[in-house]
């Protein structure tokens, strides 16, 4: 009798448990887990803090955020991810670091989560994420090592990703009788005319290193230039590259005082404070224009697609999020990643003042924000390969191009010899890193 009772109790317990498991929510198993997220102290990520609170309330997964100035993230993340057991469960990287992180074995491929029925949300719809963003921020492999291809794999999901658009002061262009520039020729003519009228034409980054290189790259792709040819030969002294440097010099000469010392913040502030007529950089400027705490120009700004040179090609950049290989809470981290970038999360980010990464979110909100239709139009020709996201890029970016382009915008020296010298230095680095060892 006693034995029968025990057996019955065990069977009942098993039934209750199995029923409970079968109906448990996808987050129940991870409730009470704490994950640590490393990301930049930028407006999009600040806005995401509210979404994090909602994530914790819905899932029971606690989130600690370690927010740092964005150019300082890399050192911290590299140190954390190289430990046997890291503190970070989610890291957000500037897209140009993804190659280095993967080549050092520091990131977890996301395929292992996207193939798990218990983890992946069937309505996630990864195809809805803008192609250029996903390729640029999340995919590593392919023929070049940083683009999609047969050897490519997904390591991150874009979050805080961006492309470039033109923001301009409607009142100033109208007053000066200048049409919104649609091509580089028109842009250069507009800058010259504004300069003649005594109005600082276009703001730009220009500080030595990463900032001035980024400013030049914005013009390189649409003018038809590249950093390397198909054989990894640097071509930063090509006619297109030199023309991009000429445009940058013109911007520095016709723009607001101080461009050679401007980082991203200073360049944006110049436009937001009404000191420049145009801004050609990340789409994030639109949210900043709308923020009365930062902007004096809300209501006066129009948006247009990135001017076209010999081809259409805006930047792709910003951030993507992934999971370190040494994370102790990978599944909870994936659930976080998924929640922040699913359709509802993407829409919520828009409501909180952030930037969407999904085409459906952009389309759904196109009538609410003046810049969204422009971004929708821009994204199909956003160039995911506008800069080489190889591990050596950081050295080329800061040490070689970042120095040469400073010389371009702070002196009147002929540009071609400056870029020729930079090309030689770039070649030496590629040689040192073994890119030509397969050649006879």
């Amino acid at each position: 009798m006693k034995h029968l009772f025990k057996t019955g109790l065990a069977a009942a317990s098993a039934m209750v448990l199995s029923t409970g498991l079968a109906f448990a929510g996808p987050y129940d198993k991870y409730a009470g887990t704490t994950i640590v997220v490393s990301w930049p102290a930028l407006s999009h990520f600040k806005a995401a803090e509210t979404l994090i609170e909602e994530f914790t309330a819905e899932t029971g997964i606690e989130v600690e955020v370690d927010a740092l100035q964005y150019l300082n993230l890399r050192d911290r993340q590299l140190l954390e991810m190289s430990k046997p057991r890291g503190d970070y469960d989610v890291v957000s990287w500037v897209v140009m670091w993804k190659g280095e992180y993967v080549s050092k074995g520091l990131l977890t491929p996301l395929s292992q989560f996207f193939t798990s029925g218990s983890l992946v949300d069937p309505n996630y719809d990864i195809d809805d994420i803008a192609d250029a963003y996903l390729q640029n921020g999340g995919v590593v492999g392919g023929k070049k090592g940083y683009m999609p291809g047969k050897s490519g794999a997904l390591y991150g999901i874009p979050f805080g990703a961006e492309t470039s658009i033109l923001a301009y002061r409607k009142d100033i262009l109208e007053e000066q009788g200048i049409d919104v520039p649609g091509t580089y020729d028109e842009l250069r003519a507009a800058m010259a005319k504004l300069k003649e009228a005594g109005i600082p034409a276009m703001t730009s980054r220009g500080a030595t290193g990463h900032q001035v290189t980024a400013a030049w790259l914005f013009h390189l792709a649409p003018l038809g230039g590249k950093i390397f040819d198909d054989q990894w030969n640097p071509v930063v002294n090509s006619p297109e590259a030199v023309e991009a440097a000429e445009v940058l010099r013109e911007i520095a000469k016709t723009g607001p005082v101080g461009i050679p010392a401007f980082g991203f913040g200073e360049a944006a502030a110049s436009f937001l404070q009404g000191e420049s007529a145009m801004y050609l950089d990340t789409l994030k400027i639109a949210a900043m224009v709308r923020d009365p705490a930062q902007s004096k120009v809300d209501g006066k700004v129009g948006y247009a697609t990135h001017p076209v040179g010999s081809r259409c090609g805006s930047e792709t950049g910003g951030f993507a999020m992934g999971i370190p290989a040494n994370s102790q809470n990978k599944e909870a981290a994936f659930l976080f990643l998924q929640y922040m970038t699913n359709k509802a999360g993407d829409q919520r980010m828009v409501e909180l003042g952030g930037d969407p990464v999904r085409m459906s979110t952009l389309a759904a909100n196109a009538d609410k924000f003046e810049d969204f239709p422009v971004v929708l139009e821009q994204l199909p020709c956003a160039d995911a390969d506008w800069r080489p996201l190889i591990p050596e890029w950081n050295e080329l970016n800061i040490d070689v191009l970042g120095q040469a382009l400073t010389e371009v915008i702070t002196t009147d020296k002929p540009i071609q010899p400056i870029m020729d010298a930079a090309n030689e230095k770039a070649r030496a680095i590629m040689q040192r890193e073994g890119y030509y060892v397969w050649r006879n």
Binding site: L78, E100, K104, A207, T208, G258, A261, D399, Q403, E407
Partner: protein, 315 residues
Amino acid sequence: MAHAPQDPLTAALPMPMAKPRFEPGFLTPYAFIIPALLVMLGGLLYPVFMALYLSFYDWQIGLPLEDADFIGMTNFARMFTDPQVWEVLWVTLRFGFWTITIEMTLGVALALLLEKPIRGASVFRTIFILPLMVSPVVVGLIWRYLFDARIGWINYYLGAWFGIDPQVWLGDAQLAFFAIVLTDIWQWTPFIFIIVIAGLQALPSEVVEASTIDGANWWQQIFLVKLPMIKSILVIALLMRLIDVFRGMEVMLIMTGGGPGRSTELLSLHIYNRAFNTQQLGYASAISVLLIVIVFAISTAILTMANPMKNKSDV
């Protein structure tokens, strides 16, 4: 066998024991020194030897040290042929020359002016040493915004008072170099001032009085009496500033990031960039070894030429 008569005064005392070969007490001083020695070895010599060790490897952050490739003297060979290293070394030497010369001159002059008990001297002294209390990162931020081409006070007042057009202080090679020199002078002149004034106040008043009786005027008292008597203090102040010039990087990192170009990139900032921007820890270590050798050589030369411990009559 007859015993020698015993001194009645010492008879009650115990017989002296034979001197032991090892007296435990002689270890006591060493025991006291050992903790300090261990701290020195751990905190000073270990990093130096580690830098030397790493300089023979090709190692990047994010990869295990065990996986680093031993490359012998390659980093040193590269360093000696790398024009960037010589460029930043030249920037460092120019920076050191201008800052130390001006700081020593100003610091000594201020100390001589405020040496005597004049009304409000203590207030002036407190104000003068305030910059020393500010962290280098904050100093960098303060001066970065003062020199800002758009919103900086310096451009504003130059325009308002003298009608000078706004200057791109931190975006022009010469102006940026001037800006970091000025910032360093602002922060470190008080250091010289405080050391020198302490030295001046410790001078024996009889000597100064004697020189007055002998007819020395104010200038003669300064150049023939006071400064020679605080020579050792001046040498130490010079040495400390010199070492700081080679070590310091925070202010430049915040103000200019070493730019435009490499116009404000000091050797230590170059090492930082090599280590953390381009991830070449082995190469950065090799340049660190060069830095140690340079500082050691200059320090030795100064101490040899003007050893403060040599002349005991110095204060």
